[in-house]
């Protein structure tokens, strides 16, 4: 606990408390994010239900759209709801960079292997 006490200036530190005005501002931000997340979810469902029948937009584009919207949702959840955006830079990087590095590698190797499997499957079966 001694060491935690050194970080009083951080607005989310243990022994700092928010005033009612601060709380009001934070709540306003949270409500806005809620509306945004809900709207994105509704858009995603509509895309999933209707866009596949539409020949003018390719399915690949829609998929990319889903992934971008998902990442936007994820960013809002992590940065606002989990308020990682308000933490120190060093904590942000310690959490996000190793994960990004690992997951990009995992996705790359997954897609690479998947394509290879598929080729073998369709060649040799």
């Amino acid at each position: 606990m001694e060491r935690d006490d050194l970080i009083v200036n951080d607005s989310y530190a243990i022994n700092n408390s928010h005033t009612n005005e601060e709380g009001k501002a934070i709540r306003k931000k949270l409500y806005n994010v809620t509306v945004l997340l809900t709207v994105i979810t509704i858009i995603e469902v509509f895309m999933g239900v209707f866009f596949k029948r539409n020949g003018t937009v390719t399915w690949e584009t829609i998929k990319l759209g889903f992934i971008v919207l998902t990442l936007v949702k994820a960013a809002y959840i992590v940065l606002i709801f989990m308020h990682l955006g308000d933490e120190k830079k060093i904590l942000k990087y310690v959490v996000l960079l190793p994960y990004a590095l690992f997951i990009l590698y995992l996705i790359f190797i997954g897609l690479y292997e998947g394509v290879s499997f598929q080729e073998l499957n369709s060649t040799w079966r």
């Binding site: 009083v8 022994n15 709380g23 992934i67 949702k73 992590v78 120190k88 904590l91 997951i103 995992l106």
Partner: protein, 351 residues
Amino acid sequence: MAGHTQNLTKDEMWGGNASPFGVSYGKMMMWYFLVSDALTFGGLLTAYGVIRHASADPWPVGEQVFESLPFLHGSYPLMYVALMTFILIISSVTMVLAVEAGHRRDKAGVIKWLGYTIIGGFFFLGSQAWEWSHFIHGSGGGFQVNKSLTVTGEMENGEKVQMTLNAGNWVHMESEFGHAYEHALEGGHAAPAADAHGHDAHGHDAHAAHGSEVAAEAHVDAASMHPEALILNKYVLELKDDKDIRKVKVTGEDCKKLWEAKANETVVFGANMHKNEYAVQQQYANFFFFVTGFHGFHVFSGVVINIIVWLMALGGEFDRRGHYETIEKIGLYWHFVDLVWVFVFTFFYLV
């Protein structure tokens, strides 16, 4: 001591006796745990992607597999999952409001919002139970044909389309006939006679009349049953002349032809760990069970932890400690569960 950290030089800050990350030990460790847990889920979803990518057979389309709502007939593609997503997002919001109340040392606010979060968690778990039950029971079942044949069917918009099937291709039954057939196969008198509430044994897709009809048929031999209509491309998407052909209904003579070509050993109703009616690939059902099950278990543990912390808040524990940081830590976990669902929703149901 206010602003102390800001005045430290770099050497002082990293020289010990200070908190360079600006968070307490517990919160730091919660973040580390979440990173590792996110890698677990990332690994699961990547594995799903690999298997799906590697598959030579068509993969089921989410909006065609998940299109039912409790107590309602008809097709409501993705509505139920969207509802589950919405429930989880809302419970995430109530959780963040509990955290916010904690920062103001507002005990009543914490108890109220954390309480709502727990209720939201129960709603989500209940929804998932229904979803699993529906997935396991299936909606009609299907079989593979034992020879190649060409039939003419009707698309949803009434257009006729000619379909050529190869041996091993899937044909699905309509839900009413499928359920009746399943019960007949299970053996005569064990029919799903309507229970006191008018539901059949599956608790869904039941009319009041359906139960009694089936009961009347209970002694009918399964071998003598014939469907009025069969469905092609019920769960997968096939493109023909740039049109997507889904749920092609085959009736009359062609329906009979398909029924006669039924390979009996391939008849499947719903899904289990060995076979499923949705796809040729068993991995599809297995990933569904594992990924949503693993996530559901996280939600369950989250609800349990939330209840414990809610009781602690009720008992005034955090006022004694002088801070509500525990709310923030469980809040991180709960938001993470929501975050994972956002990805499961995209990769399992939408893409």
